[in-house]
Symmetry: C2
Subunit: 429 residues, 2 copies
C-alpha cells in the first residue's frame, strides 16, 4: 500500500497557526527605523516621527471675536439700557491693519472681528449693545467682565504645548494646525520599500498576449502595489523572474539589499519545482511554510539578510489574503503606527449557514448589502483561490477564527469591508 | 427700547435646516459629467464612467490545477489501487511552454500546475494517485470524471461578461482584474475641480509672519485641499483675496469659469463688511445663508454662473464641518458615486451627558477610545469654532439631529471616525 502513503506525502505536512506564524514573524523582523523631513504640503497620511511642540501662541495675539468696540471692562460697570455709559471713540481697527491706539479711561476703539485688540483694552462690547451717538461718541448698554469677546493669545494653543505626538497619521486638520503654527517641514517615518517579485515561466507582463498561447498576464504586482500605496508603503516592482534557481537567487539578493520587505508571488507550492524554498534555504531562513489559513495556505514566511520575505501564493485571492494577513501588519510595524488602525467593519447578518473547519482560520468573501438599516452578508459561492471574479463581487471579508466551526444562517458577524460602497436593498451579485 | 430691537437685528434672522438646505442645494446644482481615459496604473480610487465587459476568457485556456498527468477521463474508468491502469507517457508540459501534443487512447502527458492542457485531454490526475513505472509508463489509481483538476477556459470570467459597473470606485482587486483582462486604459469620471478662495485682510499665507503683528496664517486652504484629495476631487488654490468688492468679484468669476465647485472661506459673517454676499447677489444667487448647524451656522450656499459656491466660515472647525456637510456630497455627485459611501462609524458610549438645542443639528467633537472591547466617546470641552487644538484632540464626530435635545451619559451613539487610529484604554486628551 505504498501508493496511499505516497499520497499523504504531498503538500504541507505541518502547517502553522495564523496567530503563531504572525507573532513569530513580527518578533523576528528587525525594523530599521528611518526618517525624512518633508514639507507639510505633501504630508497627508504620513506618520509623524517626532512630537510636535508649538513654538508660537495660537491665536498669536488677543483677537476680537466680535464686531464692536474694544474698551476697558471697568468702564462698563453699571452700564444697562436704562443707564447707558458714553465712551469717546479714539480710533478704528480693521482686521489685518493695526496700530496700537492708546485707550484711556472711558475711551473706546471701534474694532472688527479678527482684529488685534489694543493693549489697554480687556474686552470687546458687541455692536448690538451699543449706539453710535455721534462721530466720536458711543453709548454702551452692557456691563462686561474682563476678556469678554476676546480670543486671548495662546488660549487655543500655548507656546510650548505638545500639539501632535510621534506615531500620529497626519489627517487634514493636523496639517492645518501645523500650518497655523508656522511649521514648514515635519519629520516622518520613511515609507517602507516593498519589493515585488513574481516567478513563473507562464507569466507575462505584456498585454500583447498571443491568442491561443499558454501564457497568462501577471496581475498580482499591480494589485499588491496599490494595497502597499494605500497602506503607506512604497512598492518597487522587480518584474517576472523565470523558474531558474540562479535567477531567483540573484533577484532576491538584489531586492533584500534595496527593500525593507520582499513579497514573492507564485512558486509557493510545495509541488512543482520547489525552487523558491530551495533558494531561500541557501541564502536565508524559512520561519514557516504552510499556514493554517484558507485561502492562503501555501504562504511562507522567511528572512533573507535580515529582511522579511513573504512567499505568497500565485492565485490572486490567496495572494491578497496573504498580503492582508502578513504584509499589512509588517508595514505598520515599519511605520511605527500605534495604536492599531481601525478597519472599516460592520456587523452583518449571514444570509446562509457557513461551515468552517476548526483548526484553520477561514477568510470568506462576502457580498454585503443594506436593507431596512441593517447589514446582511451573503457568502460568495465561487470560492476558488484563483477566482478573480469573486474579488470583484466581494465587498467584505469574514474571518472565521480557527476555534470556530462556522456560523448558522442569521448569525451576526463582523465583516471587514473591502470597499466603501455598499449597495442598498439587494444582493451585490 | 429700540436698542433691544437693534440687538436682535444682528446675525442670521432666518436659518435654514440642514436637511432642507442640502436637498435644495444638491437639486439646484447642474452637474456637467466629464470623462477621461487613464492607464490602469493610475486608476486607484478613481470612479468608473463605463461598464467593463470582458473581451477575453479567464483563464484564457484550460489550465492544469495540479501537478500530474493530462489524460482522457474515459481511460481512467475502473482505475483503483487494486486495479491500476497503465498509460503511455507521450510528452511533458511545463507551465509557460506549450506544444499541442497529440494524446491517443491510454496515453498521458506529464503536466505541471498552470500549464495549458492539450486539446484531447479532459482531466488531470494528481501525481499522488500515480506511480511512474518507467521512463514512458505511468500507473494510475483513480477514476476521474471529466474536467477534474482543470480550470476550464472562461470558468472564472467569460468573454462578454459584465465585470465592473459604471460608478465603481476602483479598489486594488478591480485593477488586478482589469490587468488580467488585458485592459490598458479605463474611462473614469474627471475629478471635479474645487476652487479655494480665502478672503480677509488679516490673513497671510507666508510663514514669515511679523512677531507682534496683527496677521494670522491662512490655514483653511491646506486643510480643505487635503480633504478634497481624499474625497476624489482636485483642489485649485486661488490664495488670499483682500476685503475689496472688485477683487472678490473678479476672483469668483475666474474660479467659476475654471472650476466645478467654489469654496470661499472667511468673510461669511453677516457683520463685518458683508462684502461676499453683496458680490454674490450681483453675479449669482444665494440659495441659503445661515444654516441651523453648530458649528458652521454662517455657511452660505450659492450659485454663480451655474456653479455651486459655498460660503464657508473662516474659523477652522466650522469650516471643516461646513465642508463635510455640503462639499463632500457635492463632490460625490460630480463623481457619480452611487450607492452612498459608508463612513467609518462606531457605536460608542457617551462618557457624559450632552445637551443640545432642538431645531439645530449639532456636530460635537469627541475623543473616542476603546476599553474592554467597547468604544467610549468623550465630548471635547473646548468647543469654540476657532479652537484648532480641538481638531487635533478629536478623532470622532457626533451628529445630533435637530429633533433630538441631547443625550444622557452612557447613551450608545454613532460616532463618525475622523481618524483611523483609536487609542486603547484611556481618554485621548
Amino acid at each position: 500500500m505504498i501508493y496511499m502513503c505516497a499520497a499523504t506525502m504531498k503538500g504541507f505536512k505541518i502547517t502553522t497557526s495564523l496567530r503563531n506564524a504572525l507573532t513569530k514573524f513580527l518578533e523576528k523582523v528587525e525594523v530599521k527605523i528611518d526618517y525624512e523631513d518633508i514639507p507639510i504640503e505633501s504630508a497627508l497620511h504620513r506618520v509623524l516621527a517626532e512630537d510636535v511642540i508649538a513654538k508660537y501662541d495660537l491665536p498669536p495675539f488677543n483677537r476680537a471675536a466680535m464686531d464692536g468696540y474694544a474698551i476697558k471692562s471697568e468702564d462698563s460697570r453699571g452700564a444697562s439700557i436704562e443707564t447707558p455709559i458714553r465712551l469717546k471713540i479714539v480710533g478704528r481697527l480693521e482686521a489685518g491693519f493695526f496700530k496700537n491706539i492708546n485707550i484711556g479711561s472711558f475711551e473706546a476703539v471701534e474694532i472688527m472681528t479678527g482684529s488685534k485688540v489694543p493693549d489697554q483694552a480687556d474686552c470687546v462690547i458687541m455692536a448690538e449693545y451699543t449706539r453710535r451717538v455721534s462721530e466720536d461718541i458711543v453709548e454702551i448698554y452692557q456691563q462686561l467682565p474682563p476678556w469678554t469677546n476676546i480670543d486671548q493669545a495662546g488660549s487655543d494653543i500655548h507656546k510650548g504645548d505638545l500639539v501632535l505626538t510621534k506615531g500620529t497619521i497626519l489627517e487634514p486638520p493636523d496639517i492645518g494646525v501645523l500650518k497655523a503654527l508656522r511649521i514648514e517641514k515635519v519629520k516622518v517615518f520613511k515609507k517602507p520599500k516593498v519589493g515585488l517579485i513574481s516567478t513563473g515561466d507562464e507569466l507575462i507582463d505584456s498585454f500583447e498576449i498571443v491568442e491561443g498561447g499558454c501564457k497568462i498576464i501577471e496581475n498580482n504586482q499591480i494589485m499588491l502595489s496599490n494595497y502597499i500605496i494605500e497602506d503607506g508603503g512604497e512598492p518597487l516592482k522587480y518584474g517576472i523572474i523565470s523558474d531558474e534557481f540562479e535567477a531567483i537567487r540573484k533577484i532576491i539578493i538584489k531586492a533584500a539589499s534595496e527593500c525593507d520587505i520582499i513579497l514573492l508571488t507564485g512558486g509557493s507550492s510545495v509541488g512543482r519545482k520547489d525552487l523558491v524554498p530551495k533558494v531561500i534555504n541557501e541564502i536565508g531562513v524559512i520561519l514557516a511554510h504552510g499556514i493554517s489559513i484558507k485561502p492562503g495556505k501555501p504562504t511562507g514566511l522567511a528572512l533573507v539578510e535580515g529582511k522579511p520575505l513573504i512567499i505568497m501564493p500565485g492565485y490572486s485571492v490567496a495572494c491578497i489574503i496573504s498580503y492582508l494577513v502578513f504584509c499589512q501588519p509588517l508595514i505598520q510595524k515599519f511605520l511605527n503606527i500605534n495604536p492599531k488602525l481601525i478597519k472599516l467593519t460592520v456587523n452583518a447578518y449571514l444570509t446562509r449557514r457557513l461551515p468552517s473547519t476548526a483548526g484553520r482560520t477561514d477568510f470568506v468573501r462576502v457580498s454585503v448589502f443594506r436593507k431596512n438599516g441593517e447589514f446582511y452578508a451573503s457568502p460568495i459561492r465561487s470560492t476558488g483561490s484563483g477566482i478573480l471574479s469573486s474579488l470583484v463581487k466581494a465587498n467584505g471579508l469574514l474571518e472565521i477564527p480557527d476555534e470556530i466551526e462556522g456560523y448558522e444562517e442569521g448569525a451576526k458577524v463582523p465583516i471587514i469591508l473591502l470597499r466603501r460602497q455598499i449597495p442598498e436593498n439587494g444582493v451585490n451579485e
